[in-house]
């Protein structure tokens, strides 16, 4: 039998047994998204494999089942009959598999009955209740399907069981042997994997004991044991290496299927793709090998499907007609590095950005702060897929999150680098073996801990002075590291071993998924190969430890789980790890959207705040650099003279030390607002409850329970440069374009009007849709309308509809402002004639949209 087919039968048999069990659990607990996710992935894997083995009957059947389960995942209620239907589908799948095992080809048969029912159930989004009894009374297709495969199921279950026992042993010894030569086969014997695993554990113990003995002898200068112990030590090392070797297999074994996968995909997609393999002989532990097989296959399929362009497109781009996927593996320290690179089009960051916004993975403001690399990482988020259409190849976005979670499960990391037009490279870093890991031993609060080396990026020595100084924003410690601001935590505090006293120590820069943070420890010892021992059941509930280990000196230390430690970072960590379903919920709460506010003190003790999105940068400037010219404070900043302004006369400039300032930049000009102290960055709803008449203050809002002055940045900009808003008058006069701004919130009117003005437009701001219509009909010519979507009485959609009905205003482009841009809103907006949708705090986005739309008008005119 074809080896691919045999592997498929084995794997699928095991998967199906799992699905059976999981489904039953799922029926009892239909709200458990995790179980559903498991089932969905298993079925997805089966479907995917069927696809490239050309098992069309199976593929159709599993595709239909997957569609239905996709609906469950999207929130369709789970009924008992739906589960029964899926179970009977699985039974049918088993019958077909059984047929394949006997005859090596798909048995002839018709599954349209099941497919039809799966599809209709998926369409109906749940069957009305009254149909329940009717369906249960006439379960003829079900029971027929259930009875027949009963036997088949037993057989197919038994088969993999026997295979599973025997096969790994065959794999361990037979495969390389078969590849080498017939002669070698006589020199190899079959050993069960259990025996090897047991040997491995015993050797691990031996290594520990050896380490302890060495430690003891080290304390006695001239011991008789020294020489024999040295020999014992060498022998132990050899033994360890030998046993490890028995478990090692070349990574090429995991690649075996890939050439065929690529060939079949290339044929299906009508592309020319070559697969290069480098370093296939690189060896790694068979347990790890098994676990990376699927992620590798998935990544290669992704490269072929999404990465490589069609031949015509490639030739047009001046690339060779054949696309190349390059697989390479090499050892690096105790790790193996696997790279999957294609020379295709690279990731479409704009589309990923839009998609991530749409699915609520990040807000517009967060997005603006992200680099392209960080945006690319969104493809690893659960439920994320940029493929516009769901095809059987690209799948439904169950792919990349599974890839990442599978790799992280074995203590590995996956990274990607994408250059638009040149290609994408995925880099997977995994430990060679799972039993022994390299760990960094650190001390915090008088106790030693082990941190798995894999998650440690670097060590930074931090002191009160010197290059790396731990700074604080309110009570949150941070570290400037090259060009990033690294969130820090005191390990001592996380573990409640005392309070952080000094600002010195070492910062262990740690990576968990996409989150990078620094853990402050008192001292760092060395790295050591440790054998991971499971955590005591009485201590497992403490999230920050992943296990225990015995060090060379015989003492027991705890192994820190970087994931658990990251939880202590609180919100930040959660944001990076929140699952998509929860975010969907937050999308529903869009009406309660929060805003990031920078809270600071200047002059009076009352806290002041500005929306963080308006602030370009926070700086601390050496007071000696502040110059006074013509009664104004200036500072040289980025090769320009930047004026410094005070919020009110009470705010004094410091005479020495560092002066904190908020920098606002626009059109290449910067202004610094002098503050006494930056207090915090908070997420809160922004409701200006009391308006203010004081210049420079928009009003008062309650931010995190404290009455806070909301500062009007627009007031300060013209003070810095008298021509801040006038410098574009020339253009404005020529174009004489005018914008009607409609927003019920005075805050936004006051914030946006100066902004649009600054971009060179005339602005009329009104507070309601009714006022807007009145203004439009007053005879004043407007080239563009910018309107808030959510307004009382008449909302943005209604305003657009009203404008479209009146001939005089029908042609005016409309830009909609929304607190949260959702797919539904965009759809509805398009229907009523919005030309563009911009998130409320996206200043640059708004100006770009205004320019684009008014340019269109000019063009048309």
């Amino acid at each position: 039998m074809d080896e691919l087919l045999r592997d498929f039968l084995n794997e699928t048999g095991e998967s199906l047994d799992l699905v059976d069990a999981e489904l039953v659990r799922f029926e009892q607990d239909p709200n458990n998204g995790q179980i559903l996710g498991n089932i969905f992935r298993l079925v997805h894997t089966i479907k995917g494999t069927c696809g490239f083995l050309a098992l069309s009957r199976l593929e159709r059947l599993t595709h239909a089942a997957e569609t239905l389960m996709g609906k469950f995942r999207d929130g369709m209620p789970v009924t008992a009959e739906a589960v029964t239907l899926i179970l009977s589908t699985l039974d049918r799948v088993k019958t077909i598999l059984d047929g394949i095992e006997r005859s090596e080809q798909e048995p002839v048969g018709d599954d349209s009955d099941l497919i039809e029912r799966l599809a209709s159930m998926a369409r109906q989004e749940g069957i009305p209740r009254q149909e329940h009894p009717a369906r249960q009374e006439s379960p003829s297709p079900q029971s027929a399907a259930e009875e027949a495969p009963e036997r088949a199921a037993v057989e197919s279950r038994a088969a993999p069981a026997i295979e599973a026992g025997a096969k790994p042993a065959v794999e361990a010894v037979d495969k390389p042997a078969a590849e080498a030569s017939e002669k070698l086969a006589t020199h190899s014997i079959r050993v069960s994997v259990d025996t090897l695993d047991h040997l491995m554990t015993t050797v691990s113990e031996l290594v520990l004991t050896r380490n302890q003995l060495l430690e003891i002898v080290r304390r006695h200068e001239d011991s008789d044991f020294k020489v024999p112990l040295q020999r014992l030590s060498n022998v132990t090392a050899e033994l360890q290496e030998g046993v490890m070797k028995t478990r090692m297999q070349p990574i090429g074994n995991a690649w075996q299927k890939l050439p065929r996968v690529v060939r079949d995909l290339a044929a299906e997609l009508d592309k020319d793709i070559e697969l290069e393999q480098h370093g296939a002989e690189t060896e790694l532990d068979r347990q790890v090998l098994e676990l990376v097989k699927d992620p590798l296959t998935h990544l290669v399929r992704n490269c072929a499907d999404h990465g490589i362009e069609g031949p015509a497109e490639r030739i047009a781009l001046g690339k060779p007609k054949n696309g190349t996927i390059r697989l390479s593996a090499c050892h690096q320290g105790g790790h193996i590095i696997i790279e999957i690179a294609d020379d295709g089009r690279g990731l479409d960051t704009a589309r990923i950005r839009a998609k991530a916004l749409e699915s609520g993975l990040a807000s517009e403001a967060e997005m603006a702060a992200k680099t392209d690399g960080e945006i690319c990482n969104f493809i690893f988020a659960p439920g994320f897929s940029t493929a516009a259409e769901v095809t059987s190849i690209s799948g439904r976005g169950v792919g990349m999150d599974v890839v990442r979670s599978n790799i992280e499960q074995i203590g590995g990391t996956v990274d990607l680098k994408s250059v638009s037009g040149t290609g994408t490279t995925f880099t997977i870093k995994i430990p060679l073996t799972l039993a022994i890991v390299s760990a960094l031993i650190v001390e915090a609060g008088g106790e030693r801990f082990a941190i798995p080396q894999l998650s440690v990026l670097e060590l930074v020595r931090a002191g009160a002075s010197g290059e790396h100084r731990i700074e604080r924003i309110k009570d949150t410690p941070v570290l400037r590291l090259r060009n990033t601001l690294l969130p820090l935590l005191h390990l001592k505090e996380v573990l409640k071993l005392g309070t952080a006293d000094s600002e010195g120590g070492f910062v262990v820069v740690t990576q968990v998924g996409n989150l990078v943070f620094g853990a402050i420890v008192d001292s760092v010892f060395h790295t050591e190969e440790i054998v991971i021992k499971p955590m005591s059941s009485k201590l497992r509930h403490i999230g920050v430890f992943s296990g225990t280990t015995i060090l060379g000196d015989g003492s027991v230390i705890m192994i820190l789980d970087p994931n658990g430690v990251a939880q202590a970072l609180g919100r930040a960590a959660q944001a990076a790890q929140t699952d998509a379903p929860e975010l969907k919920q937050s999308e529903l709460d869009a009406a309660e959207a929060t805003v990031s506010l920078l809270v600071f003190r200047a002059g009076s003790q009352r806290p002041k705040a500005v929306p963080l999105s308006l602030v370009t940068r926070l700086e601390e400037i050496d007071c000696r650099r502040i110059e006074i010219s013509d009664g104004r404070h200036l500072v040289q900043y980025r090769d320009q003279l930047m004026p410094l302004l005070r919020i009110d006369t009470e705010t004094g400039l410091k005479r020495e030390g560092a002066q904190p300032i908020l920098v606002f930049s626009d059109h290449g000009r910067s202004m610094g607002l002098v503050v006494d102290e930056i207090v915090d960055i908070v997420e809160d709803k922004l409701d200006i409850e009391v308006a203010s008449n004081r210049p420079g203050v928009l009003g008062y809002a309650v931010v995190k329970g404290v009455t806070t002055e909301i500062v009007d940045v627009g007031h300060f900009l013209p003070q810095a440069f008298e021509d801040w808003f006038r410098n574009r008058d020339g253009i404005a006069a020529r174009g004489a374009r005018s914008v009607l701004l409609v927003d019920d919130s005075a805050f936004f009117r006051d914030m946006l009007a100066p902004l649009i003005k600054a971009a060179g437009y005339q602005v009329v701001a009104v507070a309601s849709a009714a006022d807007a219509l009145a203004a439009l009909n007053s005879g004043t010519r407007f080239d563009l309308v910018v309107t808030d979507v959510e307004m009382p009485e008449m909302d943005g959609f209604a305003l657009a509809e009203a404008m479209r009905r009146a001939p005089g205003t029908a042609a005016i482009p409309i830009i909609a402002l929304a607190a949260m841009v959702s797919a539904d809103a965009i759809e509805r907006g398009r229907a009523v004639g919005f030309h563009d949708f911009v998130a409320k705090f996206d200043r640059t986005g708004l100006i770009a949209a205004i320019k684009e739309q008014s340019a269109g008008v000019e063009h048309a005119a």
Binding site: E205, G445, E447, L495, L497, K538, L539, T548, V556, I557
Partner: protein, 161 residues
Amino acid sequence: MQRDTMNDPTKLTEYVTFSASGQLFGLPIERVQDVFKPTNITRVPLAGSEIAGVLNLRGRIVTAIHLSARLDLESRAPAAAPKGSAPMAIGIESAAESFGLLVDSVGEVLKLTEADREPNPINLDRKLARVSSGVFRLDGQLLVVLDVDRVLDLGGEAVAA
């Protein structure tokens, strides 16, 4: 199984006796793996107060439980040795894991008749009553028989901690 043998009134059971915070306790000898002097206990941050830490006993990792803290005995005997300096430990095994009960001192092994074992006095401290499977009246003092599995059942408390 253990219960059955205990219920046979004529049967003699051997108890390892030990004291913590001045109270005498007994454990059926078959539940005791070994008695050892705990050294080099590693504290486990964030663990409940009854967890003294973990230690290495001949290559096995043992979770040390402070019996006095586990049973809230501390307040009753303020003169008792401070936490963490318990001189002896009773090694027990449960569900393939090793535990050590830290106690102040270990006494002799007593052979006692099941018939003499009396039920817990109804006014016994609730925390103590939960882990006690009876009391023996010895000359001069009372011996509380511990139910190991209940002593190790930190369950809810540990999670809450």
